[in-house]
Symmetry: D2
């Protein structure tokens, strides 16, 4: 473990040298301009130690990683009732697939595909105004990091709303089955703003500490979630955190993680570390290409796989 910083440095240097950096998401215009050369990595250990490498201080759009935080918030208020409206199985399909929704009558397979997170956003919205619901998510994230400066990139949020036809389709489709209680526009407003939270790797790794610590936010000393529910979020990140690439990620990295099309991945080594990586170029399934490779290296090098036993 003393060799962790050199391992991080070696990974950063190797990733920067890689020729194939994947393809930056181009369907959300403001994200399309990010340089594919960016690479950041941050690790927070259980004892509070923070190690970083590369562009670990540069904020990026966390996108679908926000699904972890909205699920955390919704579980806190709706409790296990939530699982009546969202499943917890891997979908076997792309992140924005609508096929499963038709076959399963408007109940999304899990909260980490778009349709599932849209239903979770509907629960957070409940009887609040969108502005207030978004505020709650932002407050949760700021509390987890311990920094009030974290903000939403309104430019990205607006671009997503303007071009998010598949999300519009998914939301309307769940609504057609009665699984969306608020207006589609209000729900997608909440959803898109949460996706547009900007954080650095360091901030994101800090935000993920409660997942490593059984639900405890070390910043405030308070439980964000029970240990029981925290374990379950980790389990969902393992089986569903990378869309139709989740099996591959578990196979290669062996840690629960959640990716976003902004190129970030939040990963948890339960009891040991909270890790965030950022590399904007994506693989075919929409997960950070270099981020996944870096995490495989890190988990193997540090011996952090939860499947390790030897």
């Amino acid at each position: 473990m003393t060799a962790l910083q050199p391992l991080i440095d070696a990974i950063v240097s190797d990733m920067r040298a890689m020729e194939d950096k994947g393809k930056v998401a181009n369907y959300i215009p403001p994200l399309a301009n990010i340089s594919p050369g960016k690479f950041g990595l941050a690790v927070v250990l259980a004892d509070g130690q923070v190690l970083t490498g590369g562009d670990a201080e540069e904020p990026f759009s966390i996108q679908s990683i926000s699904k972890v935080f909205t699920l955390t918030l919704a579980l806190g208020t709706a409790g296990d009732q939530l699982w009546r409206r969202v499943g917890r199985e891997p979908s076997g399909s792309a992140f924005n697939s609508i096929v499963q929704l038709e076959n399963e009558k408007g109940v999304p397979r899990n909260p980490f595909i778009n349709a599932g997170a849209i239903v979770v956003s509907d629960m957070i919205l409940a009887r609040h105004e969108p502005r207030e619901a978004i505020g709650q998510v932002l407050r949760l994230v700021r509390d987890l990091v311990g920094e009030d400066s974290i903000a939403i990139d309104e430019h990205v949020a607006r671009a997503e709303l303007e071009t998010g036809f598949r999300n519009e389709a998914l939301a309307n489709y769940t609504k057609a089955f009665g699984n969306l209680h608020n207006d589609v526009d209000r729900v997608l407003g909440v959803y898109s703003h949460c996706c547009s939270i900007a954080m650095s790797c360091r901030q994101l790794a800090l935000a993920g500490r409660y997942l490593m610590l059984g639900g405890l936010n070390p910043e405030t000393g308070r439980q964000v979630l029970s240990a029981h529910r925290t374990r379950r979020i980790n389990a969902l990140m393992m089986t569903c955190g990378h869309y139709d690439n989740s099996g591959e990620f578990a196979f290669r990295v062996g840690l629960p993680g959640k990716s976003g099309v902004g190129g970030g991945i939040l990963v948890v080594a339960p009891g040991v570390a909270s890790i965030a990586v950022w590399a904007p170029g994506l693989n075919a399934q929409g997960n950070s290409l270099l981020g996944s490779i870096a995490l495989e290296r890190l988990a193997a090098g540090a011996g952090w796989s939860v499947f390790e036993g030897g």
Copy 2:
């Protein structure tokens, strides 16, 4: 941990008292006659200690749990070439679904659904005679347990071949895409015989030790598989070990496992324990109903979830 035997005893007693025991698989005639009241549990710890409860000495048909052993054998010979012919993603479908095969041109989603294990059986068969290939699997299992008495129930094997129309369909379908190199009958002969291995919970938990110990067979002191590949089998058991119920199992139990329609489940707490449970009644997805509940209790009680961090 000192309280492990009382925990096992409490679970056995509670499971025996449960009214809804699920439905015993009825499509393989010899399995249909097993009493749903049977319940066995066995735990082998990393230090070699063996704890059991209930019908832990009674042999049952391991069925799809054999997919773990055939995969282990095939990885040993074919190596990573294996993954060209079988995927490693959860299928999102039932264990005997054929839909995915059509969409993905004869490449099964993972080695733990029937189609995937049929392709793995084809690899084991290679240029051997079926009898020889089956012999190799049996030898592996006997070596893992350290008991030469373990045998195949020929009665079950024959019944499976006679009624296995869906497996015939899956095998022919992969062959139509060129992903089966041997005759369908020979491949299904190997597949069905491996499924028909009979073991007790105690034996099965012993057989699973290498998965807890990074690939080491403590019986022989030899590596059955590299630590690296062993981790990966554990990962596959986590994401794909329970068909379209894999997410739920990870969510509730938090350990890699593989179930069989005979009512058995083999579970691994990496570095800590190898666990086998048997209760013949199944849930809607074809996994042992009481077995799953028992494992949730055991993992929670012993604090073994890999997602635990608090």
Copy 3:
């Protein structure tokens, strides 16, 4: 043929006596209140003779039957370019299925399922204002009937827009694939208003004359469409006019037809008759239950099946 009026009268009387009248569509509120006891039938022969029975003068919401008229209009302007954006195969799925759209990248299977008609509406809209596009469809229908009184039921149109979440989903989905050029709201405005045209059986049968007469509107003496394209619309009505019940309708009735969830069906016996029936109760696939039975009786009694050869 001299016995046609008695045949119509017998059918009306038998249909009124039927106990199972199907289920009136309940997802469009204003349609839910229509009495399931209504039954109307109108036949216009090639020589211009008009025969009616039952509630043949009462206007009803033509709903998806409007898809025939919008397709006619779009073919007139876009020509065969239209087929680059819409297919002409039966979908094998329900009228509002979205699965096919995902698999075929936003190109609807045919112009008679909702997604297809939405794309056709987008073509009619082109660079016009919605009001103008709707006006063109209404003008076409009025010209075909020869009555200027035909109107849109604004109450129905508004209700459809407010509750049409699946159509919103379909429109957004095609737009996500670039197969919708105008704003979703404008396109659905056109689509819903066309569906909300109200006509009686007599008027609808008059409107269908051009389909029987090779494209000629006998009202004006002008070709609405070439004989060639008219044959093709008839062919599409045969293979795709009743959603996933099209095969059954062809099998039983043997004539091209297009149904609507308002309970109307427009049917063509090429060269012989244009027929409209109305019975608000629907079968499981969303087609008029009694309407289908009545048409089977009429076609058999009059010997009008295009598959007749004896």
Copy 4:
């Protein structure tokens, strides 16, 4: 109509000059060697007149066109009970798709896709020996043509059985759902032999006369089928006769037809003509490429579309 022979001659000459002749089916070895330059056309009119062009006397493998004859035979014995085990809707999928079977629990969409014809073969087999069942089909075809020389190409039948893994899969799959009563091997034996009947265009057009004449076999003066059921077979040929190209064929040709991968198509103009065409090169959906074009020309030139009304 006096110009029919010149029209046929012009079509033959034009088709022979076409450069793109499609791709000869290569998955049944003996069919792969047929010259793509072959082209035959035969028309039998209601008055008995026979007109031919090109290679109209050369026998070819009728393949799936046999599905019309086996359906005719099965309807004669099983009657409408047949429709409990086979649907009558277009499948919207390829001829050998298995996806629909899983969703609809082993009931094939219609009798003209492979799975449907396999179930029909099972009905014909009933309690007979395969040899006898095949003999009945052959007798029907010989009676329809009035020539006893028509035979099965055993070489083709054997090749089909040896390479027909998808048909093996389909048969086993329907059997898994209980929708196949006989042994898979026996059923596929019947199925493959019927597909391997060899006929010339002239013979095939003669065999199709009963479909034009309301079920009457003019050769024997006996009804092969009631007028009612004959209409219905024609309807099925219209909606399902060309797999996922059926809509296109109806759109372009406007006549009921059934194609085979041997490159033949049997087409009916009810009351007017029975037509057979043969051109071995196929389009992407497995239907004769030049055959379809030739029929479009013929139907348009002769004014035979059933959708004609002008």
